[in-house]
């Protein structure tokens, strides 16, 4: 009984200390923010249905001078190096844009790219954003463009493909041999900061934080250069799954082995206990 009382006291003070330095301290260091919003509801949704055929003509007329759509045979108009020096950053290929980005976000982005990406602290009239505003298009035309982009996606892109299109223009993933399409010197010039390598980001930031952060970086870090890229909920979870797969590759092995190690020690403890009881029966 006495031993259990002492054990309870030790556990109590250990638990209080743990609670104070881990959950409590971290809740104080990272104040709570609103959860991720995948509907991007501050942007006015379109109230018209798009026509993919009209969209095709609009895309050909307005987008292809900068963007490629490799899945339908439009190659990127410039090499990555030339594009980076011409625009500051390599423009994305639009093959999967229709599913990678949330529909509402895509429409809002076409109308007001700087507002949608939340980069007004980086770009203005003196330093214009590489993507021009298409606010001169009507709502119907914007809906047509979005409908076309959604229409051309034949197969669901892999986790890695989503990462490459959505993140890989600026970020490297060196533990999976991926180099950012935009050279890091160009990145620094473009956004005022180098984009970090994301290999270990899943361990340093954790999935829960990344889910809110990727959805709206500026909400989490004041003045950050990373744009809001407007991933849909499904594609964002693909990105996080990919980061998990690269940065914490042994997670499954760790969780499997954990049970065996705990089981082994539990059996050891049981045998040790029986041995102890048999020895102390004679001694005490």
């Amino acid at each position: 009984m006495r031993e259990l009382k002492i054990l309870a006291i030790v556990i109590f003070f250990t638990a209080v200390t743990y609670w104070g330095v881990e959950p409590y301290a971290h809740s104080q260091m990272h104040p709570h923010v609103a959860p991720a919003d995948f509907r991007f509801k501050e942007m006015e949704p379109l109230h018209v249905n798009g026509n993919a055929d009209n969209g095709k003509a609009l895309v050909e007329a307005n987008c292809l001078s900068c963007h490629g759509i490799e899945s339908v045979g439009y190659a990127a108009p410039m090499s990555s190096e030339d594009a980076a020096s011409a625009y500051g950053v390599v423009p994305p290929d639009l093959s999967h844009a229709g599913v990678i980005y949330a529909k509402n976000y895509l429409a809002g982005f076409l109308k007001d790219p700087v507002g949608a990406t939340k980069l007004s602290h980086k770009f203005n009239d003196a330093k214009p954003y590489a993507m021009p505003s298409f606010a001169f298009l009507s709502d119907q035309e914007i809906a047509d463009v979005v409908a076309y982009l959604q229409n051309i996606v034949a197969t669901k892109p892999s986790d890695k493909a989503v990462f490459e299109e959505a993140c890989g223009r600026c970020h490297s993933m060196k533990y999976d041999a991926w180099n950012a399409k935009t050279p890091s010197a160009a990145m620094k010039n473009y956004l005022g900061a180098e984009a970090p390598d994301l290999s270990m980001m899943i361990r340093s930031k954790k999935a829960e934080y990344l889910n809110t952060f990727i959805n709206e970086p500026l909400k989490m870090v004041e003045g950050i250069a990373m744009p809001r890229v407007g991933l849909s909920e499904a594609s964002q979870s693909q990105v996080i799954a990919y980061m998990q797969n690269v940065g914490d590759r042994k997670k499954a092995e760790r969780e499997r082995l954990g049970l065996k190690l705990i089981g082994f020690m539990a059996i050891f403890t049981l045998i040790a206990y029986l041995w102890k009881v048999s020895i102390w029966k004679r001694a005490a």
């Binding site: 006495r2 330095v21 340093s204 760790r254 190690l261 020690m265 206990y273 041995w275 004679r282 001694a283």
Partner: protein, 417 residues
Amino acid sequence: MAQIKKAEGFIDWLDQRLAVKAFMRVMMSEYWIPKNINFLWAMGVVLIALFAVLLVTGLLLLMYYKPDVNLAFDSVNYTIMQEVEYGWLWRHMHGVAASATFLIIYIHLFTAIYYGSYKKGREMIWLTGMVLFVAFSAEAFSGYMLPWGQMSYWAAQVITNLFSGIPVIGDEVVIWIRGDYVVADATLTRFFMLHVVLLPLVILAVIAVHFYSLRFPHVNNQDSVELDFEAEAQKYKEGRIKESRVVPFWPVFLSKDFFVVGFFMTFFFFLVCYHFDFAMDPINFEPANSMKTPAHIYPEWYFLWNYEVLRGFFFDIGGIAAMDIGLIAFVFANVVFFLLPFLDRNAMNTAPAHKRPAFFVWFWLLIVDMIVLTVYGKLPPTGVNAWVGFFAAVLFLGLFIALPILTKWEAKKGEKA
């Protein structure tokens, strides 16, 4: 020269040359431990088990680690964590065992304080134990630098900078420690040397002295009764086992320790595989970047109370700069535990704290205060947090200033009674 005869077997052959039987008697089967102890007396053996884990996993990690600022981070996080078979396991065990070692050291240390095991002939055990605490602290600090993550770099920057508080030569000392004007490759390489060679050698040597210093005053017991170990051992050897108040280290004492070690290691492996963030801070999985100061810089949890004593003094008092007061308090906090046997002026009273009402209050105030310091050492030092830290730091200093007075008063009261 001993009489060497034809050996009756391998043990006898060894015994004639190395006296292994006598050695085993002295170290194991006739090393007498009091019976009236509780599981807190197993913490020493738990620490040995953890140290063995650290040593073995450390050797395995050493085969792939690269002490170079350009290679260190990837050698840990890619080569060891992803490419080497079970490399992640050795790293997780190493990191969690380091943290767990400090938890057990603190339990071990407060057990010694509670049961008065630091005085009346046991001063050398206490002092060598404190040397071990300091050596383990240096070992942990140098080890934390090796993965070359953000907190490796910034903790090193902040902690090495503390030495600039030394009067006159401070700035030169900082450069001497770092081997450069800032924390850089030279710093990493020398802390690597400390972590894998010099400090482990010191720790091994001091552990030996710590054990040796235990043999003469003997292990204390939970009622702090004085035992005549020779008489009690005699009873045991004569077969009056139940009557004897001592048991041999092997197998009786260790049988209980094995159980406690097993119980603890079961929990340990749960932490290693499922709950390791407390010991392997996520922020250190971000590569060191001298251009990007983290929003919050804090040491590992086991240094937080100490860090808060330093940080608690955040305003100038009587014309002395806050930083200087903090540094003086910090040095005081690091030295004062060494002095405990001499600050206790009631040296002959070794009763456990619950039989010494004033000391009992002092003990639990110290525990609560150190937990408050630990928690507030991690919280951002703003607003009311800064003041809680200040008062907790003042209370910490006050407790040790009050100890001689309190124990002297207790001794006087004891004489009268």
